[in-house]
C-alpha cells in the first residue's frame, strides 16, 4: 500500500506519520498512513476531493482536535521525533513549531504589523525591537517587505488577495516554525499571485520544511520535491515528485495522473 521513498536521508524526517488511522466519529477518514517528511524539502499531498489530504495535513498540528468527535485511533504522528499526542506535549508549543497557511487568506482585521507580530505576542514577546526585527524578517521572507514597509500600520484587509495570502505566510513564519503546512494556498488566487506564491515556496524551502496540499497537479510538479498521492483515505504512493509523475508505480496513481478520475 504505502511506499517508502528510495532515497536515503541524512537528517531525520521532521514529520513522521506511522500506521495512523483517523476517524470522524464512527467513520474512518484515514487508513494506516505512513509518511516521512524530509527536512527542508517541499512535500505535496495530492489526490481527488475528499481523499483526506487536508485531514492528514491537519493531523500534523492537531487542528483536528477542535472537531469534537475527531481522533487518531491507531498509530502516531511524530514531529522532530516526538509523538505529538503524548500527554506532555503543549499544544501551544506544537503549533508554534508547526505553522499553517489556509486555503482562503485570513489576515486579522488589524494592521499589517500586528498581523505578523501576533504569533510572537501570544507567545509572550513584548520587546519592541525583537518584534520589529521579526516583522521585517518575516515580511522579507514572504517577499512583501519592499511593497509594504512604508505602510505597516495600514489595515491588512486593504491588501490585494495575493498580498493577503503572502501576509498570512509571513504571519505563519514569524514564530520560526520547523514545519509550514499549506492547505491549498493558491486555490483562491489569480494566476499571477499563484505564480508569486509558488516562487516563494522555493525560497521558503531553504529555511523551512513545507507540506502543501494541492488539487493542482501542475503546481505539485512545479513546487514540490516529494509527492504523496492519497485516495479514499489511503496513501497510495509516496515518491520524489519527478519519479511519481513520470513513472508512477501504482496503477491507481497512473490513472489519476492521466485524468481517468478526479
Amino acid at each position: 500500500m504505502s511506499a517508502e521513498p528510495t532515497a536515503k536521508t541524512t537528517p531525520p524526517p521532521v514529520v513522521q506519520v506511522r500506521d495512523m488511522d483517523f476517524c470522524y466519529g464512527d467513520s474512518k477518514a484515514l487508513f494506516d498512513i505512513n509518511l516521512k517528511v524530509k527536512y527542508h524539502r517541499v512535500t505535496a499531498l495530492i489526490g481527488p476531493s475528499g481523499c483526506g489530504k487536508s485531514t492528514l495535513l491537519r493531523c500534523i498540528n492537531r487542528m483536528n482536535d477542535r472537531v469534537p468527535s475527531a481522533r487518531v485511533t491507531k498509530g502516531e504522528v511524530l514531529v522532530k521525533g516526538k509523538n505529538i499526542h503524548d500527554a506532555d506535549v503543549d499544544l501551544t508549543q506544537l503549533r508554534k513549531q508547526v505553522g499553517m497557511v489556509f486555503q482562503k487568506s485570513n489576515p486579522f482585521p488589524k494592521s499589517i504589523y500586528e498581523n505578523v507580530a501576533y504569533g510572537l505576542r501570544i507567545h509572550g514577546e513584548k520587546n519592541k525591537s525583537v518584534l520589529d526585527e521579526a516583522v521585517e524578517r518575516s515580511l522579507t521572507h514572504a517577499a512583501l517587505w519592499e511593497e509594504l514597509k512604508d505602510r505597516l500600520q495600514a489595515n491588512a484587509l486593504a491588501l490585494s488577495g495575493g498580498q493577503q495570502q503572502r501576509l498570512c505566510i509571513a504571519r505563519a513564519i514569524a514564530t520560526v516554525p520547523d514545519v509550514l503546512l499549506m492547505d491549498e494556498p493558491c486555490s483562491a488566487l489569480d494566476p499571477i499571485s499563484t505564480l508569486k506564491i509558488e516562487e516563494l515556496m522555493h525560497q521558503l524551502a531553504h529555511e523551512f520544511t513545507v507540506v502543501i496540499v494541492t488539487h493542482n497537479m501542475q503546481q505539485a510538479v512545479r513546487v514540490s520535491d516529494y509527492t504523496a498521492f492519497l485516495h479514499l483515505g489511503k496513501l497510495v504512493e509516496f515518491a520524489p515528485t519527478e519519479e511519481l509523475f513520470t513513472n508512477p508505480r501504482e496503477k491507481l496513481t497512473e490513472a489519476y495522473l492521466r485524468g481517468t478520475f478526479s
Partner: protein, 644 residues
C-alpha cells in the same frame, strides 16, 4: 439576425408564455403581487413620516405660545419681581441650616432631659390609648344630666382597674430608676378625665426640660440670637416683594382674561362673516359685541410696580447690611462639630448671598417692561431652562434641563451596569459555554424581554428600593458616597431595572456580533498556537467590537425610550439632580423625558402651552432615539471591514 428567407415565426418560448398570460383589471398578476409586497414594506415608512408630522404639528406651536406667555410674564411685571424673589430663596436654605445648627447645639445640654420628658409623655399616651373606652364612658356619664352617681361610680372603678392594669403592663425604658417607675405606675393608675393637670412627676420632668432648655439658650445665646435676627431680616423686604407680586399677578390675570375674551370675540366675528343665514349672523355679531372687554393698561400698572424700584433697592440694601452684620456676629462656637460646620457654611454663604442680592437689585434699573421676547431666547428658555413648573399660580416655566439630566443620568447608570453584564455573558455563551449551557442561557436571557415593564416597576418599588435602602444602612458600606440613602425611589434604582431590561437586547446583539466573526480568524489564531482566551480577547472581541458597540447603542436607545419603569421607580422629583453631592447624586430622585409625558399628558387641556410643551419633549425624545439608532448603524458600518 434573422435572414430574410426564413418565415417570421415567433419563437416557441414566447408563444408558450403568451398563452398563459392573464390579466386582472388590466394588470399583470406578477406586478400586482409585487405592488402588494411593496406597499406593505412602505407602510412602515409612511407611518414613521406620519408620526413625525403629527408630533411636529402639535409641538411646533409651542415656541410662539411660550413666547406669548413669557411676554406676558415680562409685561405684567412678574419678571421684575422674580429678579429679587429668586435670589431671596437662598435665604430659606441658609436659615434652615442655622436652625439645624441651633437645635443641634441646644440638644447637647437638653437632650437627656427632653428624652426623659418625651419617654414619660409617651408612656402616659400609651396608658390613655389603652384605657380609651372606659374613659369615654366615664366622660359621657359625667356629662349626663341629671348625673347618675351609681353609674359614675361603676365607670370610675372600671377606669381605675383598666388604668392600673395598663400602667403595670407598660414597658418602662431603662432611663427610669425603680423609684421613678413605681411613681409613674402609681400616677398613671390614678389618671382620670376630670383632672387636666399633669401628674407631679411628669410636671417635674417637663420643668426640668424647660430649665435645661433655658440654660442651653443662655449658653448659646449669641447663636440663637443670630438665627432669629437672620430670619427676621428678610421680613421687611419680603413684605415689599409680596406687595409687588400681588400687583403683578393681578395684572397678569387681567391680561390673560382679556386675551381669552378677545380671541373669542375674533372667532365669533369670523364665524359671523362666513355665516349666510342673516338671523344667525346677527346673533353672532351681537354676541361678539358683548364679548368686548376693556384692555388692560399694562403701562399704567407696570408703573405702579417699577415706581417702587427705589424703595425695593433700599430694602435690599438694608437686608444685605443686616445679614452681613448677622454673619459677622455669628459665634465661632457651636454645640457639636456638625453644628459648627453648618454655622461655618452659613457664615461663608451669607456674603455671597448678599452680593447676589445687591447684584440683582442693580439690574432692576436696566429692566424694561416693553422689551420684546425674541424667539431665540424662548428656544434658550426651553432647552436650557432649569425649571419645569406647571399649574403654578405664579408663572409656568417649561425648562428642559431637569428632565434631560434625569434621563441622561438614569441611562448612564443603566448602560454602565448593563454593558459589562451583557457583553461578558455574550462572550461566555458564544465562546466558552457548552451546547447545553447555550441552550439554557440564551432563552432565559431572552425571556427577560417578555417581562412587562410595569411588573419590573413593581419589583423596583417593592423589592429593589427596600433592598438598596437596607444595604445603604450597613455600617461597613458607609464609605460609599450617598449612603445611607434617603429615598427608596431614586435614579440608581431605576437605572438598575433599566439595565435589566436592556440586557436581553445588548446580549443578543453582542452574541450575534461575535457569531459573525469569520471562522477563518479563529482558525488562524488557533494555528498560531493561541490559547482560547488569547483568541477570544485578541481576535474575536476586536473583530466583533463594532457589533458590540452598536449593541450597546441600541441598548441605550431602549433605555432612553423606556417609560413605565422610570415613571414608577425614579422618584419623579422635577428638579435638576444635585450634582454637588458628587457620585452620591445617583441616589437622588429625578424625573425623565418619557416619564413626564406619560404622567402629565393625560391631565393637561388639549392645545394649552403645557400640552404643546409635552409634545416638544416628545419631539426631542424622538430626535434622540433617531440619533442613537443612526449612530448604532454608523458604528456597525464603520468598523465592519470583514463585511465590506
Amino acid at each position: 439576425m434573422n435572414s430574410p428567407t426564413t418565415p417570421s415565426r415567433p419563437p416557441l418560448r414566447s408563444v408558450l408564455l403568451r398563452s398563459r398570460k392573464r390579466t386582472i383589471l388590466g394588470v399583470d398578476p406578477q406586478k400586482l403581487i409585487k405592488y402588494f409586497f411593496g406597499s406593505n414594506a412602505s407602510v412602515a415608512i409612511i407611518v414613521l413620516v406620519l408620526i413625525m408630522v403629527f408630533l411636529l404639528r402639535e409641538g411646533i406651536d409651542f415656541l410662539p405660545t411660550y413666547q406669548r406667555e413669557l411676554q406676558t410674564y415680562r409685561r405684567a411685571g412678574l419678571e421684575f419681581c422674580d429678579i429679587i424673589d429668586q435670589p431671596l430663596q437662598r435665604n430659606q436654605a441658609l436659615s434652615s441650616s442655622l436652625r439645624q445648627a441651633v437645635s443641634a447645639s441646644l440638644e447637647t445640654l437638653s437632650k437627656t432631659a427632653r428624652d426623659w420628658r418625651d419617654a414619660a409623655f409617651l408612656l402616659k399616651r400609651q396608658v390613655e390609648d389603652k384605657t380609651a373606652r372606659p374613659r369615654e364612658s366615664l366622660t359621657q356619664a359625667l356629662e349626663k344630666t341629671p348625673p347618675a352617681p351609681e353609674q359614675i361610680e361603676v365607670f370610675r372603678r372600671e377606669l381605675g382597674e383598666a388604668s392600673a392594669a395598663a400602667a403595670k403592663a407598660l414597658d418602662y425604658p431603662a432611663v427610669f430608676g425603680t423609684a421613678e417607675r413605681e411613681q409613674l405606675q402609681r400616677e398613671f393608675a390614678a389618671l382620670t378625665p376630670e383632672v387636666t393637670d399633669l401628674p407631679p412627676l411628669l410636671q417635674t420632668l417637663a420643668a426640668e426640660f424647660s430649665a435645661k432648655d433655658r440654660e442651653a439658650r443662655t449658653k448659646f445665646a449669641s447663636l440663637v440670637q443670630a438665627q432669629e435676627e437672620f430670619e427676621e431680616a428678610t421680613e421687611p423686604l419680603q413684605e415689599v416683594v409680596d406687595e409687588l407680586k400681588a400687583k403683578a399677578l393681578e395684572t397678569k390675570e387681567k391680561a390673560v382674561e382679556f386675551d381669552v375674551l378677545e380671541t373669542n370675540r375674533l372667532r365669533l366675528l369670523e364665524a359671523a362673516a362666513t355665516e349666510t343665514d342673516a338671523k344667525e349672523k346677527a346673533s353672532l355679531t351681537k354676541e361678539a359685541a358683548e364679548s368686548v372687554s376693556e384692555a388692560v393698561n399694562l403701562e399704567k400698572s407696570i408703573q405702579e410696580i417699577t415706581g417702587r424700584t427705589a424703595e425695593l433697592r433700599e430694602q435690599v440694601e438694608k437686608y444685605a447690611v443686616v445679614i452681613e452684620k448677622a454673619a459677622a456676629v455669628l459665634p465661632q462656637d457651636a454645640g457639636t462639630g456638625a453644628a459648627r460646620a453648618l454655622v461655618n457654611e452659613v457664615r461663608e454663604g451669607i456674603p455671597a448671598h448678599a452680593r447676589e442680592m445687591r447684584a440683582a437689585a442693580a439690574t432692576l434699573e436696566g429692566w424694561r417692561w416693553d422689551k420684546p421676547v425674541s424667539i431665540f431666547s424662548v428656544i434658550g428658555a426651553f432647552f436650557f431652562g432649569t425649571q419645569w413648573i406647571t399649574n403654578s399660580s405664579w408663572q409656568d416655566f417649561f425648562g428642559f434641563v431637569p428632565l434631560l439630566s434625569g434621563s441622561l443620568v438614569i441611562a448612564a447608570i443603566a448602560i454602565l451596569i448593563a454593558t459589562p453584564v451583557s457583553v461578558v455573558a455574550a462572550i461566555y455563551t458564544n465562546q466558552f459555554a457548552s451546547e447545553r449551557e447555550k441552550e439554557m442561557i440564551k432563552p432565559v436571557i431572552e425571556f427577560i424581554q417578555a417581562i412587562p415593564s410595569v411588573v419590573l416597576g413593581f419589583i423596583g418599588i417593592s423589592l429593589v428600593g427596600n433592598l438598596i435602602k437596607d444595604v445603604s444602612e450597613w455600617s461597613w458600606l458607609q464609605w460609599v458616597p450617598g449612603f445611607p440613602i434617603q429615598e427608596r425611589l431614586n435614579m440608581f434604582n431605576a437605572g438598575c431595572l433599566l439595565a435589566f431590561m436592556a440586557v436581553p437586547t445588548m446580549f443578543s446583539l453582542s452574541e450575534d456580533a461575535l457569531n459573525n466573526v469569520p471562522r477563518a480568524y479563529i482558525d488562524a489564531s488557533d494555528a498560531l498556537g493561541a490559547t482560547k482566551l488569547q483568541t477570544v480577547f485578541r481576535v474575536i472581541v476586536p473583530a466583533g467590537i463594532s457589533g458590540i458597540l452598536s449593541a450597546i447603542l441600541l441598548g441605550l436607545g431602549r433605555v432612553v425610550g423606556e417609560t413605565m419603569v422610570v415613571l414608577l421607580v425614579a422618584g419623579n422629583r422635577i428638579a435638576i439632580p444635585d450634582f454637588s453631592a458628587g457620585p452620591g447624586v445617583i441616589f437622588h430622585p429625578a424625573h425623565t423625558l418619557t416619564g413626564i409625558i406619560a404622567q402629565e399628558l393625560g391631565e393637561v387641556s388639549r392645545g394649552s402651552s403645557h400640552w404643546q410643551a409635552l409634545f416638544m419633549v416628545g419631539i426631542v425624545l424622538f430626535a434622540i432615539s433617531l440619533l442613537v439608532n443612526w449612530c448604532a448603524r454608523a458604528v456597525a458600518r464603520r468598523f465592519e471591514p470583514h463585511k465590506a
